[in-house]
């Protein structure tokens, strides 16, 4: 009988269910087929007018009933679909009774323009519209449902009701590292013995015109508009920004002991989680990459493995000039000479940057990579950047035995979280 605890004597945390939704499609099977075929989900935006926009492409999820409603409505639908897939696969609990807490990464939420416009029209002031007019209309006209819908906690709250998770769910954001943080919090809770199982979800359905403009004003987005599928070019010399996108990832995490006791099928192990915040700048990483290096080393140390034990890196790889260079610098320090021979790829080349959801989606893809012994490519890698020589698994998927993955996520506000994922308990 193998041990239920890891080298540090903590409960081993396993994954027994995983689900995802991206612009490529719904569910692991559809996504995996397209990811390994090198298919892009990036397309021209149709959700709102793009006249005069600097960026006109995105990886929005346009095929769901809530796709043209509000950011929280779509984010909740994406999360629901991913979690349903994960819970069904794990077979945990009973329907509507998940035996553990929910850690849910959610995008920024606020009242949106359609609601503001309705309030302004209802107020119908004779002079210029002010927020005092909106306040008057809000109290007078019975828009009670908007209050709950635009609270930060409402997505997780509705998911808690639907899946019957225990206690008050935690809604969280660490910007583009949020998905990894949702997994990290679950791993920590299980290791502490607070719970035997937890549900981690990260979701983002927040591509509105204003969201696109905000990132555009920060010069973060690609303007390679002509051929949408070819715009996301992680680690290429001609990369020029990320592609904003939508999706959700969900994982059912359990202690190994709990999973074995109920006869669950184990699809992977979250062996280690590392984190280090960066105090350099609000949007830029420390030029020496020390926080990113510290984060990756912390993940390895937490997993009790060495850099040589990593067979594949699921890179953050956003396709911005700065991220990809900084990630290279960090990985070079951690993996040394060996870096050039470690295959790594960026799922964002195909699905874009799903922001809040990215870490969880990429964790699910990492699990599939280990399970299937096949590495999804980095597509659009036509012009290698000589400054950052890497084996990015260019353009075509590759068969390879992958025992252990490092999956990186970095975000605005100095957020860095890395995961170490394996297929089976050591």
């Amino acid at each position: 009988m193998a041990s239920y605890t890891d080298k540090a004597g903590r409960p081993i945390v396993v994954v027994t269910g995983a689900g995802l939704v991206t612009s490529l499609g719904q569910g692991k099977q559809d996504n995996w087929a397209k990811l390994t075929a090198g298919t892009s989900g990036i397309h021209r935006i149709t959700r709102f007018p793009i006249d005069g926009m600097r960026t006109t492409i995105a990886g929005t999820v346009d095929y769901l009933p809530k796709s043209s409603t509000t950011a929280p409505d779509l984010s909740e639908e994406l999360a629901t679909l991913a979690a349903e897939e994960a819970i069904a696969e794990s077979g945990i609990g009973a329907k509507g009774r998940f035996p553990g807490p929910l850690f849910c990464a959610v995008p920024p939420i606020e009242l949106e323009w359609p609601q503001r416009r309705i309030l302004a029209q209802e107020a119908a002031p004779n002079a210029a519209v002010t927020y005092d007019d909106l306040l008057r209309a809000a109290e007078a006209n019975g828009h009670d449902a908007w209050h709950e819908r635009f609270l930060y906690g409402s997505i997780a709250d509705h998911l808690a009701d639907r899946f019957g998770t225990r206690g008050q769910p935690i809604s969280l954001s660490t910007a583009c590292a949020s998905g990894n943080t949702s997994i990290q919090l679950a791993v920590e809770a299980i290791r502490r013995g607070d719970c035997d199982a937890a549900l981690s979800i990260a979701t983002d359905g927040s591509v509105t015109a204003e969201a696109l403009i905000r990132f555009s004003l920060l010069s973060a987005l690609s303007t390679n508009n002509e051929v949408p599928e070819a715009a996301s070019r992680p680690f290429s010399k001609n990369r020029d920004g990320f592609i904003i996108a939508e999706g959700a990832g969900a994982l059912v995490l359990e202690s190994l002991e709990h999973a074995v006791a109920r006869g669950a099928n184990i699809i992977g192990v979250v062996e280690g989680v590392g984190e280090m915040a960066d105090s350099f700048h609000r949007t830029r990483s420390s030029p020496d990459a020390k926080p990113v290096i510290g984060c990756m080393r912390a993940a390895l140390s937490d997993a009790g493995v060495s850099p040589d034990d990593i067979d594949y890196i699921n890179a953050h790889g956003t396709s911005t000039p700065e991220n990809d260079r900084m990630e290279f610098t960090g990985m070079s320090a951690v993996f040394g000479e060996r870096l050039g021979s470690i295959p790594l790829s960026s799922n964002k080349s195909m699905i874009g940057h799903t922001l809040t959801a990215a870490g969880a989606i990429e964790a699910v893809i990492s699990l599939l990579t280990v399970r299937n012994g096949r590495i999804p490519p980095t597509i659009n890698y036509e012009v290698p950047d000589p400054a950052i020589p890497l084996d990015v698994v260019p353009n075509v998927a590759r068969d390879a035995q992958v025992r252990r993955v490092m999956s990186n996520s970095f975000g605005f506000g100095g957020q860095n979280v890395a995961l170490v994922i394996t297929g089976e308990p050591a």
Binding site: P49, H143, D144, H147, R192, R214, D278, S279
Partner: protein, 393 residues
């Protein structure tokens, strides 16, 4: 679990309408001072932030310019907490300090919004007009001043806290859970020192708008919140606590202000009659643990009618001396549990409870020695939280 460690509070940073820091707050609480603005946001009332010299904790004007008021309030309070704990500028300790922040989002540019709303319905293509206006008129850096996790980001930049950084959202319960997770990690031995807290700027119409949609923004005139809950009397405030293992604190010669003995977070089904009351009752009983001597309850009541009536009913039945934090400083949503905990730790450290407020019948005189304070924080729409602070003997 029996192998859990004690968790000490070794630093408190607080700013509110009553001023900044523990001494100013103790003096204001003792004098029965409240600061309420019923004019600026009429018909609503707010507890406005006291005049703060932000330079004292955020020396670079460039940093201050990059922040919205809620981030300035929080970054300032975090700095006070680090000072109070004696770790300000200590790179080694700050590099291992774990941070959990409770946050909402930042203020919109209400001038830009107003101008767009004034003209948009007259446009042949309203959506195109909207995009043009946003592209031309939004300040690029405003986005960063709105993002929830950028309070933590600013604390990292200004104060150098980099051990870890997590931001919880979800209104009142995020404050409870931020403290709970920081506490849990230290108690379990996976963290030695943590900075936990939150901040809220009440002086903004876009936040009042969110409450107004359900007619939950408190109208003037002011009234005691437990006796007469008719809406959320929001208040600008920020509070951070430095939590620390006794081993870590002792090794650096730091003394505890108080002990954080537990934090509990629950979620009642609000549509079930009596559910909120039952959950709060259970949590308070758990925190009380059969010890009533020297124990008081500090309520972080939200003022929304149903949940506050439920909370008040439990407080009345408890028989314990009660003080409403919300009556003194208003309600700071995500920040409210940290604010109430900071004041609870202050009272326990003083060993006294401040005087009751006239018009709040649940507040009874208490002249004994205070050694324990239970904090209740019941969300205006969801989430029930309780915490226990005890004197370190």
């Amino acid at each position: 679990m029996s192998d859990r460690r004690d968790v000490w509070i070794t630093g408190i940073g607080i700013v509110s309408s009553l001023g900044e820091g523990p001494i100013a707050h103790w003096e204001a609480l003792s004098a029965g001072t409240t600061v309420i603005d019923e004019e600026s946001f009429a018909p609503y009332l707010v507890h406005p932030l006291a005049k703060i010299n932000f330079d004292a904790q955020i020396p670079k004007k460039g940093d201050q310019r990059q922040m919205e008021p809620w981030q300035r309030i929080g970054t300032y309070a975090a700095g006070l907490a680090l000072d109070s704990a004696g770790i300000k500028g200590d790179k080694d300790i700050l590099g291992t300090t774990d941070m959990v922040v409770a946050a909402g989002g930042g203020e919109r540019d209400q001038t830009v919004d107003g101008a767009i709303l004034t003209e948009i319905e007259k446009q042949p293509k309203p959506d195109v007009f909207l995009n043009e206006q946003l592209q031309s008129n939004l300040r690029p850096t405003l986005f960063l001043a709105q993002l929830s996790n950028l309070l933590a980001g600013n604390i990292s930049i200004v104060h150098g806290v980099t051990g870890s950084s997590r931001t919880f959202m979800g209104e009142e319960s995020s404050g409870t859970d931020a403290v709970r997770i920081g506490w849990s990690r230290i108690a379990a031995g996976t963290s030695e020192i943590a900075l936990v807290g939150g901040a809220y700027n009440a002086e903004r119409r876009d936040m009042l708008l969110l409450f107004a949609l359900k007619r939950l923004a408190r109208h003037a005139p002011w009234a005691p919140v437990l006796a007469d809950p008719k809406g959320v009397p929001t208040g600008s405030a920020g509070a951070f606590l430095v939590l620390e293992s006794p081993e870590h604190a002792t090794a650096r010669g730091a003394k505890p202000i108080a002990k954080l003995s537990g934090v509990w977070s629950e979620r009642a089904q609000r549509n079930e009659p009596g559910a909120v009351e039952a959950v709060i009752e259970q949590l308070v009983k758990t925190a009380e643990a059969g010890v009533t001597e020297g124990t008081a309850i500090l309520s972080a009541a939200c003022g929304a009618p149903e949940p506050t009536q439920a909370e008040a009913a439990v407080l009345a039945r408890s028989g314990l001396p009660v003080r409403s934090v919300t009556d003194r400083v208003g309600h700071g949503l995500e920040a409210q549990m940290p604010v109430a905990l900071a004041l609870a730790a202050l009272c326990v450290a003083e060993g006294r409870l401040f005087a009751p407020l006239a018009g709040e019948p649940l507040e009874k005189p208490f002249d004994g020695t205070l050694s324990r304070a239970i904090v209740t924080a019941v969300g205006h729409w969801r989430g029930e939280g309780v915490a226990l602070v005890e004197r370190v003997d």
